[in-house]
Amino acid sequence: MAEGKMIAGQSRQSMMRSAMRTATDHVATGLAILATVLVVTPLVAIFGYLIYKGASSVNLAFFTEIPKPEGEVGGGMANAIVGSGVLLGIASLLGVPIGIGGGIYLAEFGRGTRMANAIRFTADVLNGVPSIVMGIAIYSLIVFQQKHFSAFSGGVALGIMMVPTVARTTEEMLLMVPNSIREAALGLGVPNWRSVLSITLKTASPGVITGCMLAFARVAGETAPLLFTALGNQFWSVDVNRPIAALPLQIYIYAISPYDDQHRLAWAGALVLIALIVLAVSLVRYVASRGILKGAS
C-alpha cells in the first residue's frame, strides 16, 4: 500500500512515526554514502598527488644513478632499488620456506589440535606487532652482537615479518584443497610427505604464491625495522655484511631533508614503490578472481 495514504483506523501518530522511520532510513543511507566518499577521497588524493609530483621525476637517471651529495641537483635511486632487491631476497629466503612449512603443519598435520590453534593465534598476534619492535629486537640480536649494521640483519628483520602472513595464507589455501585429492594420492600408495608436497601443495600453489606475494608487498614498503638494521647507504653496495640502501628508507631520508631536489626524488621513489605494490596486489586479485583451485574441483 502506498505510503502517506490515509487508511481507516490508522492514527495520525503512527503515520508520523512511519514518516520519521523513512526519514531516518534516508539519513542513514546518506551517511553511509558520505562515509564511502570520504574514504575514497584521500586515496584518490594520495594517488593523484603522487602521480602529479612523481611522474615528472621518474626518468632514466632515477633508475641508473646513485644519489648526488646533499644540495646537488639530479641523481637517482639505483642503489636503493638494488638494495631493496637484496633485502627482499634475504627476507624471502628466510620467510617463505618457514612460512609455507608452518602453513603445511597447520593445515595438514595439526588440523584441529590445540597446538595448531595456539600457533594460529600466535601468528595472528605476531602479525600485529609493530615493525619497529621487530627492528630493535633484530638490532639487539644481530647488530649489537656484530657491532655493525648490515644488509643481512635488515633482511632477517623483514623475513621474520613475512613468516606469520605466509603461514596463515598457506594454511587457508591448503584447507581449500578437497580431501578427495589427498585420499586419491594416498590410495595410490604415495607416501604422505610426497602427497603433501607434490599433490596438495601443488594444487594450492597459485594461492600460496599469492600469499607470498602479499607478504612480499607488505615488507617491501617497510621502513621502520630497516632504520637500525640495514641503516641505508648513499653508495653502491650489495655486500650483505655492510649497510645497504633501501627504497623506503631513501624515501624517508629524502622526505625529511631540507632540499627541494631531494623532495622531488622522494616523490619519484614513492611512485615507483607504489607502482610495484599496486602491480603485486592487482596480480593477486586477478589470480584470486580466476578461482584459485579451478583445476582441482
Binding site: D25, V39, D124, Y139, Y252
Partner: protein, 328 residues
Amino acid sequence: MADRTFSGLMLACAASIFAIVVLIATELIMQSQLSWHKFGLPFFYKFNVDPDTHLPLFWDPVNGTFYALPFLYGTLISSLLALLIAVPLAIGVAVFLTEMCPGFLRGPLSFLTELLAAIPSVVYGLWAMFVLVPLLREQVNPIFIGIFSAPWMVRLFGWTGLVGDDGLFGGVNLGLGLLAAGVILAIMILPIIASLTREVMSSVPHSQREAVLALGATRWEMIRVGVLRNARIGIVGSIILGLGRALGETMAVAMVIGNSAEIHKSLLSTGHSMASVIANEFSEATSDMHRSALIEIGLALFLVTILVNGLARLLVWAVTRGTPVRAN
C-alpha cells in the same frame, strides 16, 4: 620414517612462530635491563622538575633523565583521535558495501580500500608532510581555533579548561602535531577496520535480515537490529585491531607529530609517540642508558600490542567462528 621427519620439520617451522615471539621478548627484556634497574616502574609515570624553570623534565638524554610519560601520552592521544575519526567512517563504508552498494561498484570500491591498506607507511608520511600538514595549518585548524576561542564558547565551557587560548586548539598552529598524526593514522587504520567489519557483517546469517524485514522494518532498521546488533562483538574486535595498528604505527607518525618530548593539552602542539621516538633516536642514541630506555619503550609497545591484538582476535573469532579470519 621419511614421513616422521617431514612432519617433524613442518612442526618445527610452525613452532618457529612461537620461537620468534619468545626471542623478541627475551631480547627486549635483556637489553632494557639497564634502564629498568635505574628507573623501575616510575619510568612510565614519573618525571623530574627543572629547578630553574619549575617545568616538568621528562626526557633529557644529555643529563641522563629518561621518563617515558610524554610518549605514552602522545601514543594514546593520537590513537584515540584516529579511532574517533576512523570508526564512524569505517562502519559507514562497511554498511554501504555490504547492504546498500550496487553490485557494479562493490568490486572496485573494495579494491580501492584494499589498496589503501597496501600503501606503505612512509608514503603516507610523505603525503602527510607535504599535503595534509599545510592543509591542516591553512584551512582546517583556523576553523577549529575560531570556534574554540570564540567568546561564547569560553563563556559556556570555560570551566572545562578545554576551550580558549590554552585549550584543545590553543598555542601555535604549526600544522605538525598530535592532530596531524591522528588524521593520518585514521586514514591508515580505516581499511583494516572497514574490511574486518565487512567480514563480520557478512557472516551474519541472511535469515536474520529476512526476519527483521518481514516485520516491516525499513532498510536502516534491518541493518541496525538485524545486522549491527548481531555483529557488534566482531565490530568491537575489529576496532581494537585498528587500535593495535595505530599504537605501533611508526613512520607516518614520526614524520608529522613534530617530535618533541613534552606534554601539552593542545591538539595542535607537537609531541612524540612511543614508536616515533624509537625511530628518531635509536640509531643515534648517545649512551647505553639512552638505548636501554628506548628498548624499554619498545618492550612496553610490544606487550601492549600483543595484549590488544590478542583481545581483538578473540573477539573477531567469537563472531566469525568457522570461517577463518583473514591473515592480513
